[in-house]
């Protein structure tokens, strides 16, 4: 196994270049700042809480928007907390859902304590065991290119666990107002009228 680790902001910048019109849901913690830094836009939903729910939220959104791709961008600690959702996603098999885990092997927001992935837990293997059709661990730039290729050529759903350096990202903070973030997202996706009026 390689010990190489990628820089999280380089990774996300590169992935956002091929995001296309995918909707993005960021899991609690550093992935929120990462996504805001790389590609801040109304079609991003930023979770400032609710640890463990990013993947199930991505699933709900992917099922509701089958014509759009939905990318969940989250961390190893957040993914571990909701790891059963891999099985739920695999059972539903949404062909528009991508789950990208920026795995720094630490709880970045709480004092950099080690997560289980530092002790041998393999999130890509857990996703594969859950039945996710395309899974991979990304260590190098070459692996990252393979992921980018897989995004358009491999069956979805896909889980990519990307090993990144344990560095504090710069804090690029989106609004903390959950109602605003939710409404902005719905307006962007559904159009203003549909977002504001119930059918």
């Amino acid at each position: 196994m390689s010990t190489t680790k990628l820089n999280r902001s380089d990774v996300l910048n590169k992935l956002m270049e091929v995001r296309g019109n995918a909707l993005a849901i960021a899991g609690l913690g550093s992935p929120v700042w990462d996504l805001a830094a790389s590609d801040h836009q109304p079609e991003n939903f930023y979770n400032w809480g609710g640890m463990g729910c990013a993947v199930s939220m991505g699933l709900g959104c992917a099922l509701a928007q089958p014509k759009r791709n939905v990318w969940v961008i989250t961390g190893d600690g957040e993914a571990l907390m909701g790891v059963g959702s891999f099985a739920t996603v695999a059972n539903q098999r949404p062909d528009n859902l991508v789950i990208i885990i920026l795995d720094n092997e630490h709880y970045g927001e709480t004092g950099m304590q080690k997560t289980h992935t530092s002790g041998g837990t393999d999130l890509a293997a857990m996703a594969a065991g859950a039945g996710i059709p395309t899974t991979m661990t990304v260590y190098t730039d070459e692996d990252l290119n393979k992921l980018i290729n897989a995004l358009s050529s491999s069956p979805l759903p896909l889980v990519a666990n990307i090993k990144v350096e344990n560095t504090k990202p710069k804090l690029v903070l989106p609004s903390r107002d959950g109602v605003y973030i939710k409404t902005r997202f719905r307006q962007a996706v559904l159009g203003s009228t549909a977002a504001m009026h119930i059918t």
């Binding site: 809480g49 463990g52 939220m57 991505g58 699933l59 709900g60 509701a64 928007q65």
Partner: protein, 183 residues
């Protein structure tokens, strides 16, 4: 004879355009789950834990659709932080049907504590809680709750009482043979 509440729930899901139903099974939910599974217009999602239902429902709303979440009362305990942190913070609509254990006629003592905690826990989260004990009450509350959730961005739980669904027959009541150890 009144329409069974499970049939009414499915009918009202259709009327109110519920497109995703997430559930962790319970005996009392069997008929409703069957009708959702068999309905091509409803995405029926079996979940590993009830907490997923909160993410699922909120994600569906982000994508412009309505979801309902079904669970047994013990599962309410698994949803607490997700309801507080996601649903309350963002004012997401939430519609849950909870079939009760630990109530009228319960025969498993381990069900009692969480069953008793459901109402105060959900109320402490600011949820609207409707306890029902007849098919008619359930149907009315489901219709009212669906409106409140999706028109008024409310978080609503319909608690189906054990008096209505019937106390689950403990395995010892129906098994062909029972052998007691720990005597």
């Amino acid at each position: 004879m009144a329409e069974p509440w499970t049939a009414a729930a499915h009918r009202l899901f259709k009327k109110h355009n519920i497109r995703t139903v997430g559930y962790v099974p319970d005996a009392g939910l069997t008929e409703l789950i069957k009708s959702c599974d068999a309905d091509n217009d409803i995405k029926s999602v079996v979940m590993t834990t009830e907490e997923e239902g909160i993410g699922l429902s909120s994600g569906a709303w982000l994508g412009g659709e309505k979801a309902a979440v079904l669970m047994q009362s013990s599962g309410v305990g698994n949803t607490v932080n997700a309801i507080a942190s996601i649903v309350s913070s963002c004012q997401f609509p939430l519609f849950m049907i909870v079939t009760m254990r630990g109530q009228y006629g319960e025969s498993n003592p381990w069900q009692m504590p969480m069953g008793q905690a459901v109402v105060p826990v959900l109320k402490s989260l600011g949820m609207h809680v409707f306890e029902v004990e007849t098919d008619e009450e359930a149907t009315e509350a489901i219709e009212a709750g669906l409106k409140m959730a999706f028109v008024s961005n409310a978080a609503v739980a319909i608690l189906i009482g054990q008096k209505l669904i019937g106390a689950k027959s403990f395995i010892a009541d129906v098994a062909e043979e029972v052998i007691n150890v720990d005597n």
